[in-house]
Symmetry: C2
Subunit: 334 residues, 2 copies
């Protein structure tokens, strides 16, 4: 569900309306009544069908939007969040985590939440992802990856002022991001020998110390450690020359030192189709790479490309992960 | 000429070989002997013709590469610069500046130099551009712009470690870059009412102070001053969402707070065709957006797109500047 005052409901209905075009079957954990009203107001042929258990979604999906009800009536209206909805929003996330942890669903796709409303209701996590990590029993281990067909990027530091991102950059954080990313590329993306491109922090990757020393003092030691662990990590690369089409062909993911070093190239290349993936959780989780978009919510104009890409990628990752778990069993001849 | 051990000679010959495809007539200030040998070694049909004065280039250009000789034999070989060439390299730049200042040439296009060789010969300027500004009698006033068909970017701080770029960012520098850029867009690009997009420094442009205060303390006051001067300056914009195709359509140039904020998007979009333009000089100056490329010099494989784009843009800018100087003269009826 995500934040019900945002565009989550309408992009979910749009995704369902696009079923049959390579979109995996999904179900919503939401307030069915608000979805019925939303579809009616927009004039969209999206009938809603209540289900008791995720497994029923497969039979329903062709004909109706399968919904596991959250058991509460949502009070928010489009564009106007209501803090009274916070328990229902968090409850939907908990139900979803229970479903993927319990093997009843293959992957979790989350619609955007509005942190302010949750904070006012007593939520104490820095964000959606940290809450999921805690529910999954893996706090502090997750790594964010942004994916579009042309590029995968991993910001090593994320929501920090640029000055603080530089101060907080550490070899340990780069190594952690590199290890989690490499493991995910093998297991969830089916890449047998992943190549990581590690960006410098400074212009021209510091020009051997002339334009900054973080490459020498922080990034080089991290590269040495990653290579020591058998990971093909290349760099530090000049940040401005590593994202054009030819350069992108030489690696499977780019490790970036700060938010915009990762976000500028991917949003420049593919503004509407980017997917946010949380690596390092015990289950597959993706989300669209945008916010609640209150300003346009409820009008039916929000673009569903990112949610659709998030659904497709979640399904592809879940299939790869399953394949890597289900090793072929060799029987000795009797 | 630029650095004769680099790819400058061969990309200039390639540009001449592409004549007739929208490339303006140009002449080289170079050692004619080395160009003859280079063309012969590569087997390229590029005859070299010496000229005494720039004006003769027009008559020669269709049939041969017009060259104003530097009067010295170059000692460098491809890939191997020789500090003994420094006076000739600097002399070629001085001759070129004399030609544009004297009205004998419409614009100056420079091939890349290798600063190390010049420093060893006693050169004391931080770079090519600062040297040109000094020769032009306009030290400290120039502003760098990078241009490709899809985007124009102006980095307010340039070759500084990222940490130092943040420390040195000032409202005055943003206002200076904004004023010089706006004036150039009107005069040299023929845009009657230019729109400037001003990037934030921090992720999401600081989220109203939650992710850094530079937007509030440095960028907002600069925007107020620019707007007070009648300039349509918008921002501070979230750096990650301002460079995709739709967003680019809403402004004429982006003012960026640091090197990679400007260089990552433009090199991601157009790696080979970017042009470096120096604004704020008394003449039009462009250069290809790459270095000397010693590693591939002399083999004829270097791509000439950026030099060709630099020649075309210089000609277009010179034509616009001329048109803006030659105001239509209104006669009163007698």
């Amino acid at each position: 569900m995500g934040e019900p005052a945002g565009i989550g409901g309408e992009i979910a209905l749009k995704a369902w309306l696009s079923r049959g075009r390579g979109i995996p079957p999904f179900y919503l954990i939401d307030d069915p009544e608000r979805l019925v009203l939303l579809a009616r107001r927009l004039g969209w042929p999206a009938p809603v069908r209540l289900i008791d258990a995720p497994g029923q979604a497969l039979a329903v999906f062709d004909e109706a939007v399968p919904v596991v009800p959250i058991g509460t009536a949502i009070r928010a209206r489009s564009g106007r969040p209501d803090p009274a909805d916070a328990p229902a929003i968090l409850g939907a996330i908990e139900t979803a985590v229970g479903d993927v942890q319990g093997g009843r669903a293959a992957a979790l796709v989350t619609n955007p939440v509005h942190k302010d409303s949750l904070y006012r209701a007593g939520f104490r996590h820095p964000g959606h992802t940290e809450y999921l990590a805690e529910l999954a029993g893996a706090p502090g281990h997750s790594v964010m990856m942004l994916v579009c067909p042309a590029l995968r990027v991993v910001p090593v530091t994320i929501h920090l002022a640029l000055r603080r991102a530089i101060e907080s950059l550490s070899s340990a954080a780069i190594v952690h991001a590199g290890r989690v990313t490499e493991a995910a590329l093998r297991r969830d993306f089916g890449i047998p020998a992943p190549v990581l491109a590690v960006a410098g922090l400074n212009p021209h990757a510091g020009e051997a110390g002339g334009l900054g020393r973080e490459e020498i003092e922080i990034i080089d030691p991290a590269l040495t450690e990653l290579r020591g662990a058998g990971i093909d990590a290349r760099g530090p690369l000049s940040p401005d020359t590593m994202f054009h089409a030819e350069a992108r062909g030489s690696y499977d993911a780019a490790l970036c030192m700060y938010h915009d070093q990762a976000l500028i190239p991917i949003k420049t290349i593919d503004f509407y189709g980017g997917v946010n993936v949380t690596l390092g959780l015990p289950f597959v989780r993706t989300s669209p790479d945008h916010g609640t978009a209150f300003a346009i919510a409820g009008r039916g104009v929000a673009r569903a490309e990112s949610l659709i890409a998030a659904l497709r990628l979640a399904a592809a990752m879940a299939a790869k992960r399953l394949a890597s778990v289900l090793q072929p069993i060799e029987y000795d001849s009797v």
